[in-house]
């Protein structure tokens, strides 16, 4: 049995990698050359050999892992909580004190846990009647029933160990007592005390089902089938994918409050909710950053209520709005209640897809055919193809205004006095009819303009 905590029944040690890692750390701490400095420590009048101080432990961890003292203290505390290191002073409390407090490394114990526990409790009982705490007494009585057949052996062992202890030096006696106490505090914590051994409920059943999954022919057939499918996948070069992260993070960085902060202040830090008021879902004057986001992708625009409202406005002037309505209806179907599916599908068909429908949407014949076929057995994804077609239509339509070639532009500065309201993918300056007169922005403190500077209709300042 290892020095540290014994894993709870049903959970093999292999499934607790953190214990293995801690053991490795503790082993290297005890290395004669590279480990923690071990010396005899003085505890009042007793001298304890092969002990380390709390501060030495912290120092060693700081250097070994190149971490801060705070983190080293935390890591050391965790080792003590799991019983790998035990305190020689005040052994009831498993904490790491970063001072001259002496500690020692736990050693391996042999034997079955219940027997060892019985011997430990018996010793306590024999040595001084009445020293057992209530929960210990309960435990002792339970063990007595459980291993009654070996009870005389337990008592014999207990008496033998007590006798041997009497002959030891005081220092050794103290060491062994502390060692034992720590071991049992970790493996049998008193009721109410948190146990470092506790795992969540999900794992128990996991172990069972893992055993269950014998590698049958079906299992391998599934693997083969999966591999074959996977081989046919198109993959993208790593360099391309990784560059995408860089550009995504770069683009979104200024919009990430935890990375770049937010103006006027982060509500959680300043206790002022002005930021939320300014960025409410429907607000008369969206901030500059918010408008910028609409330019990131069509979806961003659609998902922002203010953005969508502007888009509806735009659609209303340039194109009819049935495309957007159809798209919204499809969203409702995808995310709506299961019970509503048949009704919704029917409603969408009647309104948008049936020949001669009031708000007929223009879908290519192949997609329409497939969709109508699918409508025979309606489910929430039955309109996906049609929805995608309309989405692409809307996106393209909004990018190429009627009879106007699109010229590539960097994101326009929103200081244009003509009120070029929409971000770049919607094209260069709009006709004035699309001017968004509601745009404004919060003032940035550092750029204080003169008192007579007025925001004209459609004009935006940075």
């Amino acid at each position: 049995m290892a020095a540290g905590p014994a894993p709870p029944p049903g959970r093999p040690r292999a499934q607790m990698p953190h214990l293995r890692k801690m053991e490795r750390v503790v082993v290297s701490m005890q290395d004669p050359d590279q480990g923690v400095k071990m010396r005899s420590q003085r505890l009042l009048v007793t001298v304890i050999p092969h002990a380390v101080t709390g501060s030495d432990v912290v120092q060693w961890l700081t250097q070994k892992f190149c971490i801060s003292e705070e983190e080293a203290l935390h890591l050391g505390a965790v080792l003590v909580q799991h019983g790998y290191i035990y305190p020689l002073r005040d052994p009831r409390s498993l904490v790491l004190r970063p001072d001259e407090t002496p500690y020692r490394f736990q050693v391996r114990l042999w034997g079955a846990v219940p027997v060892l526990l019985a011997i430990y409790l018996a010793k306590k009982n024999i040595r001084k009647q009445g020293t057992l705490a209530d929960y210990e007494k309960e435990c002792y009585d339970r063990l007595h029933t459980k291993i009654s057949h070996a009870w005389d052996l337990v008592l014999m062992q207990a008496r033998e160990q007590l006798r041997a202890a009497k002959q030891r030096r005081k220092g050794d006696r103290l060491v062994i007592a502390c060692q034992e106490q720590t071991y049992w505090l970790v493996n049998r914590p008193p009721p109410g005390a948190p146990s470092v051994l506790e795992q969540g409920p999900g794992r128990g059943s996991c172990a069972a089902s893992r055993v269950h999954m014998t590698k049958s022919t079906d299992f391998y057939k599934q693997e083969i089938e999966y591999c074959r499918r996977a081989m046919g996948r198109t993959r993208v070069k790593s360099s391309v994918c990784l560059e995408a992260y860089l550009s995504f993070c770069g683009q979104r960085g200024p919009h990430d409050p935890l990375v770049s902060g937010c103006l006027p202040s982060n509500p959680w830090i300043s206790d002022d909710d002005a930021y939320w008021v300014m960025n409410a879902p429907t607000v008369a004057a969206p901030t500059k950053l918010r408008v910028e986001r609409w330019g990131f992708s069509f979806r961003e625009l659609l998902e922002d209520p203010v953005g969508r409202a502007h888009f509806v406005d735009f659609l209303g002037k340039e194109f009819s709005g049935e495309n957007l309505s159809f798209w919204e209806a499809c969203e409702e179907l995808r995310y709506g209640a299961q019970a509503q599916v048949p009704t919704l599908v029917d409603a969408v068909y009647q309104q948008f897809l049936a020949p001669g429908a009031a708000r007929w949407v223009n879908i290519d014949s192949r997609t329409m055919e497939r969709t109508l076929e699918g409508l025979r057995q309606p489910h929430r994804y039955v309109l996906d193809d049609a929805q995608l077609h309309i989405y692409m239509l809307m996106k393209k339509a909004s990018m190429s205004p009627p009879s106007r070639a699109l010229s590539a532009h960097a994101l326009p500065t929103l200081t244009l006095s003509q009120g070029s309201a929409f971000p770049t993918w919607l094209g260069p300056p709009w006709p004035l009819s699309c001017q968004c007169s509601v745009l404004s922005t919060h003032r940035v403190q550092r750029r204080r303009t003169g008192p007579d500077h007025m925001l004209k209709k459609g004009q935006v300042s940075i």
Binding site: P194, Y220, R228, V236, L258
Partner: protein, 305 residues
């Protein structure tokens, strides 16, 4: 009969070797397109400045381990569930409790807020997902209004149940097509059980947190693991992960009570946060990215910014 058994064994053996073969070929294919590492590409990215993140709110009120939490779209309300069967809705900005429901089972392992903000869903070992409409009428018995909804047609797909058949049982992370019910991609590079997975904001990748004390980033288009976030001094498993809004930061809660903040691009650890007094069991960034919330076995939730 004996010959049948023998035949079965041979088939099993040949199937096994065919599977191994194909797996090997698949790995070769994947490796062909791997021309650069993330940290190399990220060398020209500016390093992040010093991070000072602190607990800004502590939510106390649960009587036992907090197991799960979710944010409301209004960016300040939170729903949390705990081992004692209680589900609480908080206005975390003011730290007021607004609703409390007692579930019939303990270990309420998942809870989620409806996008409308008008209902919460929660479930646990009863294998059911129950939906509670939120009402401000104090006389209404919320529990009486609950509806049980089956899992896969659940609108509140944000409700992620710790399905031990999928996540915990395996070191595999799997991507499923919800329509066909098929596994589209699988990644098996973790050395221990995976506890949590979360999509990168662009949707092209996802991160995972595992008992092997590492978090990893998997790219769906490149079809491979592209980054490992680990440190020798981090020994305990990561129980929950989430990205900041831009995907630059990865927050991970660990079983040693700490939260580590990682620079996703450079692969380095930006910060370590202390505060919880027991393992961190759940972690989510707020919808507008101004803060993140962590729930712990120490019965509390903390909002950090």
């Amino acid at each position: 009969m004996a010959t049948e058994a023998l035949h079965e064994n041979e088939t099993l053996a040949s199937l096994k070797s065919e599977a191994e073969n194909l797996k090997g070929k698949l790995e070769e294919e994947r490796a062909k397109l791997h021309d650069v590492e993330l940290h190399q590409v990220a060398e020209r990215v500016e390093a992040l400045g010093q991070f000072v993140m602190k607990t800004r709110r502590t939510l106390k009120g649960h009587g036992n381990k907090v197991l799960c939490m979710d944010w409301c779209k209004d960016k300040r309300r939170i729903v949390s569930s705990s081992q004692d069967g209680k589900v609480i809705v908080w206005d975390s900005f003011t730290t007021n409790k607004e609703h409390a429901v007692t579930m019939p089972c303990t270990w309420v392992m998942a809870c989620a807020y409806a996008p409308s903000g008008c209902a919460i869903a929660c479930g646990g070992l009863d294998n059911k997902c129950s939906v509670y409409p939120l009402t401000f009428d104090k006389n209404e018995n919320m529990a009486a209004k609950k509806k049980s909804v089956a899992m896969h047609t659940n609108y509140l797909s944000a409700c992620s149940f710790t399905n031990s058949d999928m996540q915990g049982c395996d070191k595999k992370a799997m991507v499923w097509d919800m329509r066909s019910g098929q596994c589209v991609q699988a990644f098996e590079t973790h050395e221990s059980d995976i506890n949590s997975v979360r999509y990168y904001p662009s949707g092209d990748a996802f991160a995972s947190g595992s008992d092997d004390a590492t978090c990893r980033l998997y790219d769906l288009r490149a079809d491979r693991e592209v980054a490992i976030y680990s440190k020798e001094s981090i020994i305990f498993g990561a129980s929950s992960v989430d990205f900041s809004l831009s995907g630059r930061l990865l927050f991970a809660g660990y079983n040693d009570y700490t939260i580590n903040v990682w620079d996703v691009l450079k692969g380095s650890r930006v910060s370590i946060l202390f505060g919880h007094e027991n393992r961190v069991s759940t972690l989510r960034v707020s919808p507008d990215g101004t803060a993140f919330c962590s729930g712990s076995w120490d019965h509390t939730l903390r909002v950090w910014a």
